[in-house]
Symmetry: C2
Subunit: 314 residues, 2 copies
Amino acid sequence: MTVSRVLRGTDNVSATTQAKVRAAISQLGYVHNRLAGALASSRSPHIAVIISSVENIVFSEVLAGITNALEDSGFQPVIGISDYDLARELDLVRSMLEWRPAGFALAHARHNAETVKLLHQAALPVVEMMELTSNPVDMCIGIDHKAAGKVMAEHVISKGYKRFGYLGSDHAVDITAGIRFNSFKQTVEQHGGLMIKAAMPERNSGISLGRKHMHLLMEQGLDIELVYFSNDAVAAGAMLYCLAEGIRIPDQMALASFSGLEIASSMPVAITTIGSPRFDMGRIAAKQLLRRINGESFEFVRDAGFTLIEGGSC
Amino acid sequence: MTVSRVLRGTDNVSATTQAKVRAAISQLGYVHNRLAGALASSRSPHIAVIISSVENIVFSEVLAGITNALEDSGFQPVIGISDYDLARELDLVRSMLEWRPAGFALAHARHNAETVKLLHQAALPVVEMMELTSNPVDMCIGIDHKAAGKVMAEHVISKGYKRFGYLGSDHAVDITAGIRFNSFKQTVEQHGGLMIKAAMPERNSGISLGRKHMHLLMEQGLDIELVYFSNDAVAAGAMLYCLAEGIRIPDQMALASFSGLEIASSMPVAITTIGSPRFDMGRIAAKQLLRRINGESFEFVRDAGFTLIEGGSC
DNA sequence: TTGAAAGCGCTAACAT
DNA sequence: ATGTTAGCGCTTTCAA
């Protein structure tokens, strides 16, 4: 029918007919069946997005960037939550693939071999976000976490700190935090610094982790000058503990972190941290996907970069 | 084909044939086309979920509850983000409806008339969350925000406070905050209290709003004893300002809020607030939807309840 | 337990 | 500018 032509934008339909069709549609309460449309055209307006968690603001911001870039593009995100679980991610990829999305965006760069295989077989545009990886599935936009750890290490060394502690969540869950930690540790040690105590006690990563475990760390009386954190939420929790206990920052204890969240800059003493363009990573990832789908030029790998944000905490 | 029968669970297929089919499937890298399946059966495994924002942890927790309840149910959430915009919500409902979801979950209870009409026409199960409403579209699970405002008002009055301020985000955006504020104000005034200054300066609602506008409020020297906040993020920001300036809580300034977030209880002085079961609201909403779809018994309206969490801030 | 046939509501290609 | 026809890849129903 001509109706179909009206539904997906004037192909070659007279104004009169269009008006008639639209009138009939709104009168009948007709709802276009996109299922049938997608099947017939074997084209889908969906971009599958997998994030690790929706309770971690970092992924929310990436998601916001994707949503923003997809607005008015005719495409829309379909979101899956892996909960930091690679097996769950595989399930998600498999079931999302069954709906024939136009592309995939993954908010990390570590996957099961089977996940990668499925994605390759599907032969659709894929973009990995957050982390730069040596062998991307397809496209990739992220930051160099090793460099981020190094930059912070060099910064705190330049400030004269020598004796360090570390507090973060389980590195099996937060892989990029592990990369930053190793790089930080290695760099400070190269400069004569000492990593006295590193704790990655829990799967959870938030304010309460920081508050609780900063307490446990301080109790040990370890002669640490500065604590490096896996992210700003943990660092903020730790600072709240210090404030509650009257521990002066940075004199009695200095803090350094990673993320660049609102909470870090809102603290009574702003936390020195490293900020990455999360919203933009999402936005650019989606844009690259669209360029790819539309047959325009694109980049396979893109370094989103990061910034050292100096606060008063060290 | 018999293949179809294998794909969606043994209808009546011999073990031998099943094995053969599965072998062939994994060898060929065949991917089941759910588009065609959903079209043919006119059944969908999708639950459409609309939340206002993904950067507000409150909605993330509701979403986590939904995701949890849907796990292993054979259904999965498809998420739309309205960005607190009713027109955008209408667009979302319209386009999500075109994919024939099995049900709808909406993370608030205010909609355009057109949105409600579309939802009614579609004649599918709908559940509204977060807020109890007098005329739900269909089902509803939430809390009574008017009661929440009243409970906090009575609590602070019972503590002897008389002179109040209020700080929140724009009530045109955060409607439930507006309900709590009005109820709080009315109740304290009934008990001889005074709402001296109420500020709803920005659309944004977060830590930085609290920190910045608490400063502006304090500068005015208004002889306020207690500030009531629209939510814990704003309250936390305000407390951080007080900590930075050495304003003693609750002696020089008392604080009371709403949400029950991790950040409220992690503060050096825990913030007195009201907690609601956000995760459970999501979980129950999804469960009710499933019961409905499966033809089991369900409740149209359910009060999720809230709890006064006493901290040291007032 | 398995096979065959019809058709879900669209789009695409081809008439007119 | 509009109508016609043949699928898209499944599920459903009916037959074997």
